[in-house]
């Protein structure tokens, strides 16, 4: 029971903490809400990349780089001629602007300008070219030729975000970061090192540098980054509590993560390059896992650490990026069964390797990403492969670490009966600490959970509840959900299935990992010890999350929003207009 009075400096500081606790959730909720509304409600503004002119004179716009022509209702260019196959042909543009026509195993065959299209490689086509589908002839027009806009098309949205300006949201987030930093400094008042204020200042600087970079590239979208920086701020608060001595390193990891985000984003701009290099990158990931398996060191029960030249890291975190590359594919490849089989084999190898390392959590995360990728790639056509793959993985998982899994599942749901045993020690402390924080928390740096093993990684959600309160902890979950839901929503106006699969796979990894972390540490799922994206302290995990985020950024096709997507196409029928492109400095 403290006898702290208002008169002393401590007294005044304690009043600041008291008030900041209540104020902090406001900018947090506002930031998440503004970003979520902007990402999930904003207009995407359909770009049109070309037309197919039908015999009757009608024009069918090509809204994507990859378009299926056929009799099926869900074909992009759907025509109900009985002689057409359900999925007859594909008209596909690459990132260099070159178009090709593919025969998707049609009955009637496909001819371009009179030449028969062989199954497989396809046939190139120029604007004005003639596509003969047996009974139907179509004239192809690419967006490189200017055409008058279609009548009735809406004017291009000048500002897809509506009144929500990304810069203002970022400014709100900076308010949050400043208050959080002040609170963390107050908590450490007795032994404040320069590292705490420096880390928060660096966080703010890195964010605004990132914003400036985006603007310098003539792009306005910053919601995805803002949400990620929000999560990083929450994570930094936990790190300042648990390991103030490691804050400088953590700041370095953040900077490197942001660098990787821009690097991967830039890399993904060029689809041709990304498609060409996806297997080499996938192979690199497999090699990393193999080296890890051979030379890795065991830490806390899992052999998932690698030490090279004094730097230790978790290869499995980076392999996630390689895994997404290997899983993504353009539409023409989706119709080649060999491609999917290859990926199943690759995914099987990854999950097996992780299980052999006893990294049960990561194996599950990879497996869930595999399921999503396999479903998007195959739909129901290859359900067989899907189920065979699923069964095989489950078997491998169960066999590889039987006692380990049994122990995890055995204690699941019984944490409070094992408060001092392995099956409940961490979880009960996590729940007790989280409840101690209530809705508003005890203040950054004022908790006790950080003393418990893995508090700032596996238990970081509870630590957030304890110090910042349930409101901010839930806002963090919503932030991750909003980023992921955007990836799904962006699929509607995606250019290539490569981007859709990449973004959805990255989103799946972020989502499933979050679910395992949040629910596992609270005894609602088995406790597998995976990190919470962007929030858990640690280098490999943070950097890899930023890498994965680039895939979602690359799927952002709102006009002028994402640096990771090249501009192009007619915006809502207005040739060569880039939407917000002319209003760069309105923000």
């Amino acid at each position: 029971m403290g006898g702290i009075g208002l008169g002393s400096a401590d007294g005044i500081l304690s009043y600041i903490t008291l008030v900041l606790r209540y104020v902090l959730p406001i900018p947090a909720l506002l930031v998440v809400a503004r970003c979520a509304v902007s990402l999930l409600c904003g207009k995407h503004g359909d770009a049109t990349w070309g037309y197919l002119s039908l015999p009757n004179g009608a024009r069918v716009p090509l809204r994507h780089w990859e378009n299926i022509i056929g009799r099926a209702r869900d074909a992009d260019c759907h025509m109900s001629y009985p002689s057409l196959s359900r999925s007859h042909a594909a008209v596909i543009r690459d990132s260099a602007g070159a178009w090709r026509v593919y025969d998707l195993g049609s009955k009637g065959g496909v001819r371009v300008n009179g030449e028969s299209v062989a199954p497989g490689p396809g046939h190139d086509i120029k604007s004005g070219g003639l596509i003969d589908l047996g009974s139907v002839q179509l004239v192809f027009v690419s967006s490189d030729d200017e055409l008058p806009p279609l009548a009735g098309d809406a004017p291009p949205p000048r500002n897809w975000a509506g009144k929500i300006k990304p810069g203002a949201t970022a400014a709100l987030l900076t308010e949050f970061q400043l208050m959080l930093g002040i609170q963390a400094c107050i908590a450490k008042a007795d032994a404040l090192t320069a590292a705490v204020p420096f880390a928060f200042a660096s966080l703010i600087a890195i964010m605004w540098f990132c914003y400036a970079m985006t603007r310098a590239m003539g792009r306005q979208g910053f919601e995805i980054e803002t949400l990620a920086f929000f999560l990083c701020s929450v994570g930094l608060s936990a790190a300042a509590s648990s390991a103030p001595e490691a804050l400088l390193r953590q700041t370095g990891f953040l900077a490197f993560g942001v660098f990787l985000f821009f690097a991967v984003g830039w890399f993904l701009r060029d689809l041709n390059r990304a498609v060409r290099l996806r297997w080499p990158i996938g192979a690199l990931g497999a090699v990393m896992l193999a080296i890890n398996l051979a030379l890795g060191t065991t830490a806390f029960g899992a052999k998932n650490w690698l030490q090279i030249g004094g730097v230790s890291f978790q290869p499995s975190e980076f392999v996630k990026i390689a895994f997404v590359f290997a899983g993504a594919a353009t539409l023409d490849r989706l119709f080649a069964k060999r491609n999917l089989l290859l990926f199943i084999a690759y995914a099987g190898a990854c999950v097996t390797a992780l299980a052999a390392m006893r990294d049960f959590g990561s194996a599950l995360v990879f497996f869930s990403a595999f399921l999503i990728i396999a479903f998007i790639r195959s739909g129901d056509a290859a359900t067989v492969f899907l189920s065979v793959g699923a069964a095989a993985f489950a078997g491998v998982l169960a066999a590889s670490a039987r006692s380990h899994i049994a122990a995890r599942f055995g204690s699941w749901g019984h944490a409070w009966e094992n408060t001092d045993a392995a099956g409940g020690f961490q979880q009960t402390r996590a729940m007790a600490a989280a409840a101690s924080g209530g809705l508003f928390g005890v203040g950054s740096g004022n908790g006790w959970l950080w003393r418990v093993f893995a508090a700032d990684t596996d238990l970081v959600f509870a630590m957030t509840c304890e110090e910042l309160g349930l409101v901010i902890a839930i806002a963090s979950v919503l932030a991750i959900t909003a980023i992921s839901a955007f990836a799904v929503r962006a699929a509607a106006s995606a250019r290539s299935s490569f981007y859709v699969i990449g973004a959805c796979a990255a989103a799946s990894i972020l989502l499933f990992q979050s679910a395992l972390n949040v629910l596992g540490s609270n005894d609602l799922l088995p406790f597998t010890g995976v990190t919470l994206p962007f929030i858990s302290r640690g280098g490999s995990s943070l950097i890899s999350c930023w890498g994965l985020l680039a895939f979602i950024k690359a799927s952002d096709t709102r006009p002028g929003a994402s640096f990771a997507a090249v501009r192009g196409g007619w915006q809502n029928g207005e040739p060569k207009s880039f939407g917000g492109g002319t209003s760069d400095d309105t923000y």
């Binding site: 029971m1 508003f440 499933f512």
Partner: protein, 449 residues
């Protein structure tokens, strides 16, 4: 691409898992947060597994338990420690209904908005409704005999005193108490966690049923020849009572008359009243559940049914439940919800929640009869200065042991709206043994309450 777009929705399944799981977590947080925070694993408010914050006081601020460097400090007064053991609880947490165990989340100052956070320092003071002086008086009155005394304010529902014997000094708890006959059931607060054979105090239930179900009850004259033969068994009185009115029958506690009334009312009616008065259920005192009593229906016309209406057979009653019935009689039929934790100044502005157990008229009639009991049988001079309404019970327990002595009722003295129930196990006569113990407590109450 339309196809791909649709398949992409599958990723939302994982989003549903995350969001749904988080909602489930939030729900558990709202429902169980107090319990989580009160767990000994919570280092914010526990130290070395012992609660390290908060303070327990009586209604006047006398400290009963407070955190200390190495555990919990109890009151300085040894008698107070012995008297308050069961309401305060022990350091080891063996007494589950003690405040240290039952009001943990209040002690740590938990609320869902702020968790355990408090600016100046964690923890809260839990002011109990009991009065330290009444506790000591009741402890003295029991004079080491097993049993309990529980007193409540029938206007507010505040429990003013609850003492249970055997007890021990929480500063030096007995080792292996469960193996020591002297400490049999010592971790139980007998006033709220046990149920005894009620004996004649149960006649209040039979009387209430008779008042509401037998139209000419007041004009009847009953004959008692000292015993009555029912279905091959004999129900006896201590002596032949002769011709009796209903009021007289209760005042002299005539078994013969009440056996006949029970048969007339029937098992279903008696059982209904036992349920309605809460004898067979439990009530919550600030979250502490009282013990359930029991009432087994005897067959119509059987001696079991007759005995069940005079509080024998398989009847059992929790002292707190009996206290609740007499509180209701005192308060015109509605029993205010019992409380062990003082209400805040703000919530005292609102009347306490109350549940109607009796019709107002029934309550008035019972009151008159309970007052008549005192003047006719118990002797007002034995209770000087008390405006007393009471019923005694001498409950046969068999096995050659002395009967349990019960005394229950209330007083209407100015500023002292107190109801009481006392049980002295194997104490003998209800009116003289338990009545004397109650008198000692109420005399102290007139001075201090």
């Amino acid at each position: 691409m339309i196809r791909i777009k649709r398949r992409a929705l599958s990723a939302l399944l994982l989003a549903a898992l995350l969001v749904g799981g988080t909602c489930a977590y939030a729900a558990r947080f709202a429902l169980s947060g107090g319990r989580w925070a009160s767990s000994y694993v919570n280092q914010a408010v526990y130290s070395g597994g012992k609660i390290a914050v908060g303070e327990i006081t009586d209604r006047n601020g006398v400290v009963l338990a407070s955190p200390a460097k190495n555990g919990i400090a109890f009151a300085d007064d040894e008698k107070l420690r012995l008297a308050c053991l069961h309401v305060t609880g022990d350091a080891a947490g063996n007494i589950g209904t003690g405040a240290l165990a039952a009001f943990k989340s209040r002690l740590i100052g938990y609320d869902i908005a702020n968790g355990v956070y408090a600016r100046g320092g964690y923890g809260d003071t839990v002011a109990l409704t009991v009065d330290a002086r009444l506790q000591k008086a009741a402890y003295d009155a029991l004079a080491g005999r097993r049993g309990c005394i529980i007193v409540s304010n029938y206007e507010t529902g505040d429990i003013a005193c609850a003492v249970s014997v055997p007890t021990f000094d929480p500063v030096s708890p007995p080792e292996r108490a469960e193996l020591d006959a002297r400490y049999e059931g010592v971790y139980i607060n007998r006033a709220i966690s046990s149920a005894y054979v009620p004996g004649s105090v149960f006649k209040l239930v039979t009387s209430a049923a008779a008042i509401e179900n037998i139209g000419d009850i007041y004009s009847r004259v009953f004959e008692c020849g000292g015993s009555v033969d029912i279905g091959g068994d004999t129900v006896t009185c201590t002596q032949p009572h002769g011709s009796l009115t209903f009021e007289d029958a209760l005042a002299v506690s005539c078994n013969v008359t009440f056996a006949r009334l029970s048969l007339e009312l029937g098992a279903d009616t008696l059982a209904r009243y036992a349920d309605k008065f809460g004898f067979t259920g439990t009530v919550s005192i600030d979250g502490i559940k009282t013990a359930k009593g029991g009432f087994r229906k005897g067959e119509e016309g059987s001696p079991e049914l007759a005995w069940s209406g005079v509080g024998q057979y398989d009847d059992t009653v929790c002292p707190a439940a009996m206290l609740r019935l007499v509180s209701a009689v005192a308060a015109g039929g509605s029993a205010p919800q019992f409380r062990l934790v003082s209400r805040s100044a703000l919530s005292r502005l609102f009347p306490p929640a109350a549940e109607r157990l009796l019709e107002a008229d029934t309550a008035r009639q019972l009151a008159l009869m309970m007052n008549y009991n005192v003047s006719r049988t118990y002797g007002a001079s034995n209770f000087p200065g008390l405006e007393l309404y009471a019923k005694s019970g001498t409950a046969e327990v068999g096995g050659g042991r002395q009967p349990h002595a019960w005394f229950t009722g209330y007083i209407t003295n100015d500023g002292c709206p107190l109801a009481f129930t006392a049980v002295v196990e194997n104490g003998g006569s209800g009116a003289s043994v338990a009545g004397a113990a109650v008198n000692a407590v109420l005399q102290e109450a007139l001075r201090v309450y």
